[in-house]
């Protein structure tokens, strides 16, 4: 058996015998232990971590047994790739053996002449994981923020890698020492002046009521970051991770506003960070009209008017997204048939002009309205909007 002080052992067995099996089984042997010359940790894959290490191995002329052994680490033995960087045309791997009961591989490497060779061993390793986190500080006017992106490397692989290069799949390569059982957090990017939009959303299906008796909707507030260059981002997709959001309080310090999971955000997509319920924006939603008209037989059209009474008690204007799902309306007024909903906007309402077809789909209608700030008399202006929808051909 190998005598190991480290969890990973890379050995060149110097043998009196030319038997390929002896290095592992022989009782008396001499093993050189070439140290790592370079370690690269590739973190660009979503679910796997690839480690590449290079060592300079002295090779004798003829067939050499090069031993790679590990204990208490999570190396995927089937993923190990051995490549010789020195004279790869001449120095060849003849075969590789797996001794019984050991986490080890023995490569039989042919060298045409004696000398040192730089070899690279690549392998997938478990328990060496990454995650991303974000910290954002919003400007006092909440129109922009500074975003820091960090990568956290969790090394529970039971192996120390020394100074290792890391590449998270975007941006610059990072070089840091990675110790055993430690978590290292590294700043990968900082984005200044990222333009943001505060979004208030009225969506009964998704967020429900704040007060069901009064038909008052729960209105969440999100910071919306658009991942494009115009908004100060857009260099690469934003990875999934926790985002903690602070705000500059104008007194040299920051206040914690909340945190949310930033979902994977491709370029040109929007990331919405939920910060809490906006209780200063009151939206009451009522179905004001429901009339059914028989088309023929059991086939009916439904004439629906939904009324929204909206008050903005904030001292600044706000933008509110009103979202309706026609299938949810159909289910609400006549029960679920399981069929997609055929609908038309009647056009004689106040929300028609606010319809946003770019963000809408067949079963998700988005209307964007602007709310004026609270008046000087501290009273909010009540705005009433109506949505006139015809749901057709239901039975």
């Amino acid at each position: 058996m190998f005598s190991r002080k480290r969890t990973l052992t890379f050995g060149l067995a110097i043998l009196a015998s030319c038997s390929v099996l002896e290095p592992v089984l022989a009782e008396i042997k001499l093993i050189t232990l070439p140290p790592r010359e370079r370690v690269e940790i590739q973190l660009d894959h979503a679910n796997a971590t690839l480690v590449e290490e290079e060592r300079i191995v002295p090779l004798a002329q003829g067939v050499n047994d090069v031993v790679f052994a590990w204990t208490n680490t999570y190396i995927d033995r089937n993923s190990i790739v051995f490549r010789c960087l020195t004279n790869p045309e001449e120095i060849k791997v003849l075969s590789v053996e797996s001794p019984p009961g050991q986490n080890a591989l023995v490569w039989q490497v042919f060298a045409p002449e004696a000398g040192s060779a730089r070899i690279r061993v690549s392998y997938l390793i478990g328990q060496l994981n990454k995650s991303f986190m974000y910290r954002a500080t919003a400007a006092p006017d909440e129109k922009s923020l500074t975003l820091w992106q960090y990568i956290r490397l969790h090394n529970n692989a039971n192996e120390s890698f020394g100074v290792a290069g890391m590449w998270p799949g975007f941006g610059e390569r990072i070089e840091r020492p990675i110790g055993i059982n430690e978590t290292k957090q590294l700043l990968t990017n900082r984005f200044d002046n990222v333009a943001i939009r505060k979004k208030y959303t009225a969506d009964l299906s998704e967020y429900g009521y704040l007060d069901a008796g009064k038909r008052q909707l729960r209105i969440p507030m999100h910071y919306v970051l658009k991942n494009d260059e115009r908004h100060g981002l857009g260099q690469f997709p934003l990875k999934f991770g926790k985002a903690r959001i602070f705000q500059d309080d104008g007194q040299g310090t920051t206040a914690f506003l909340g945190e949310d999971w930033l979902q994977f955000t491709p370029r040109d997509d929007e990331a919405a960070l939920y910060l809490g319920v906006a209780k200063d924006i009151v939206v009451k939603r009522n179905i004001e009209r429901r009339e059914q008209e028989r088309v023929r037989g059991q086939l009916y059209d439904y004439d629906i008017i939904i009324k929204y009474e909206i008050e903005n008690f904030k001292d600044m204007p706000a933008t509110l997204d009103i979202i309706e799902h026609p299938s949810a309306i159909r289910n609400e007024i006549r029960g679920n048939t399981g069929r997609p909903v055929q609908w038309d906007l009647a056009g004689n309402d106040t929300l028609g002009e606010a319809y946003n077809p770019g963000d809408s789909e067949s079963d998700r209608l988005v209307f964007r309205v602007t709310l004026p700030e609270r008046g000087d008399d501290q009273k909010a202006t009540k705005i009433v909007h109506t949505l006139h929808l015809v749901i057709r051909n239901e039975w």
Partner: protein, 470 residues
């Protein structure tokens, strides 16, 4: 650790007149002829290995009892066969005896017409030796060519060391009526099987065809071993055989991995596919290449095995892309490597609108109503019996890669469907239209189509018809 050899051929030095039925003497003397050569033919579809070994045995004139034993191995007793490779006209196998009390042993009585040495071949099936293929692909940074290396890994858990063995690996699916491991564990062969040994010869009619051919070929084979460590590929009936030239030592509980082939510059293309039935509801990135000589491959079929795909990341290192099992790939067939979702290519399936028309009604529900004062009213509250559902879809694709991409969309629709599009769709099968498009770098495209599903009374078929917009 001492080498482990459990199969022993013993030449028992018994009194010349005693033809051994079972050796019930208490005092024996024997010699143990060593192996001269051994050949392993390993099948990957079953836990089956055909072992053929040769030994020089010195015979005396008259009846010679031979004992063959295989303690603590996984040999199928019913498969053990003895043949004479020299002095065939002067040696005759009289009978074979399986002693009841010694399940992993048999005796052969051989009649010799000469005094001297002869080369014999013993063949048998064993379980516990397996092989599997695996592959490593490394794409160049431009993702136009890749190295494609195939390996075989042989694992020996048969209980026997095989030193200096010639190794042949069989690709293909053979038929077995009983598992060799079960036969080996059974220990004592049945009377029916024992009867087959009368006359000293096992009826091999029920052996797998490939195994029979192996034995037949082996009789004429030159038993000298080549020295070069290359792997020769050849077809045999419905199978393919990889022969590792030279000899290898595969000790019990060890495994050994060798290169099967190496393609250094295999060209491939990249395609993005949306096929929910195959890859789920996601667009995946594929590497597509072909197992042919134009791809620097094609020297043999590719056996089932794990493929690990890396890419030269152009920063003096590799990036891991994927690993997946591939099924047997014949020479000339395409190899499909699924890299999964690409974060630089965004695919959204958006239903823009749904509507219905072309309604039909079932007129069987005429009802007559009468009020208290005798007035009458007839209602015809008939139900819907047929209609057309319409859905307008777009496949919205954004390409953030620095190269144009090729995409292929294939969706399946159930029922009587008309698929209307100007995307030049074709039918993959009766319910699966497919179409392709090229998306430029940095561009976004909406690939639109209109689905009409005839329902109820109007549903006359269960297939998809392609139409073009008027």
């Amino acid at each position: 650790m001492k080498p482990l050899i459990n199969t022993i051929l013993t030449l028992a030095l018994l009194s010349g007149s005693a033809m051994a039925s079972t050796n019930d003497q208490n005092v024996d003397m024997s010699t143990i002829p060593p192996r001269e050569s051994v050949q392993l033919t390993i099948y990957n579809s079953e836990d089956l290995t055909l072992v053929r070994e040769t030994r020089f045995v010195t015979f005396k004139e008259g009846v010679n009892p031979l004992q063959f034993s295989w303690a603590n191995t996984l040999i199928d007793p019913s498969s053990v066969d003895l043949r004479f490779l020299s002095h065939q006209g002067e040696l005759d196998l009289i009978d074979t005896t399986f002693p009841h009390a010694k399940p992993q042993m048999l005796y052969w009585n051989v009649n010799s017409e000469f005094d001297g040495s002869a080369l014999v071949e013993i063949s048998y099936f064993t379980s516990g030796i397996t092989w599997a293929a695996d592959y490593i692909c490394i794409s160049d940074p431009d993702e136009t060519k890749m190295s494609f290396e195939g390996f075989v890994r042989i694992s020996n858990h048969s209980g026997e060391d095989y030193a200096g063995a010639q190794i042949r690996l069989v690709v293909g699916t053979i038929n077995l009526v009983e598992r060799v491991r079960d036969l080996a564990r059974r220990g004592v062969i049945s009377q029916t099987e024992a009867d087959e040994y009368e006359g000293g010869r096992r009826n091999r009619a029920n052996m797998p065809a490939a195994a029979r051919q192996e034995i037949a070929a082996g009789l004429a084979a030159d038993m000298s071993m080549a020295n070069e460590k290359t792997i020769v590929k050849q077809g045999l009936s419905e199978y393919f055989i990889f022969t590792i030239e030279g000899t290898e030592t595969i000790k019990n509980s060890w495994s050994k991995r060798m290169r099967l082939f190496e393609g250094t510059d295999a060209p491939f293309r990249i395609q993005y596919r949306y096929r929910p039935a195959e890859y789920g509801h996601q667009m995946v990135r594929m590497y597509l290449l072909r197992n042919d000589t134009a791809s620097d491959l094609g020297t043999s079929p590719l056996p089932d095995g794990m493929v690990r795909v890396y890419k030269d990341n152009d920063r003096d290192g590799l990036s891991f892309l994927t690993q997946q099992m591939i099924k047997y790939v014949p020479i000339g067939q395409e190899i499909e490597l699924n890299l999964g979702v690409d974060p630089e290519v965004i695919h959204e399936l958006v239903r823009l609108r749904s509507w219905r028309d072309n309604f039909w009604f079932h007129d069987t529900n005429r009802r007559k109503h009468i009020s208290l004062d005798g007035r009458e009213q007839v209602t015809r509250n008939f139900p819907v019996s047929g209609w057309d559902d319409h859905d307008r879809w777009v496949e919205r694709i954004r390409n953030y890669r620095d190269q144009p991409i090729d995409v292929e969309i294939r969706r399946s629709f159930h029922g009587h469907v008309e698929f209307e599009s100007d995307l030049d769709p074709t039918m993959h099968d009766y319910q699966s239209p497919q179409f392709s498009a090229s998306i430029g770098s940095g561009e976004s495209e909406d690939l639109a189509y209109h689905i009409t599903t005839h329902q109820g009374l109007l549903a006359k078929q269960n297939n998809v018809t392609l139409t073009r917009p008027e």
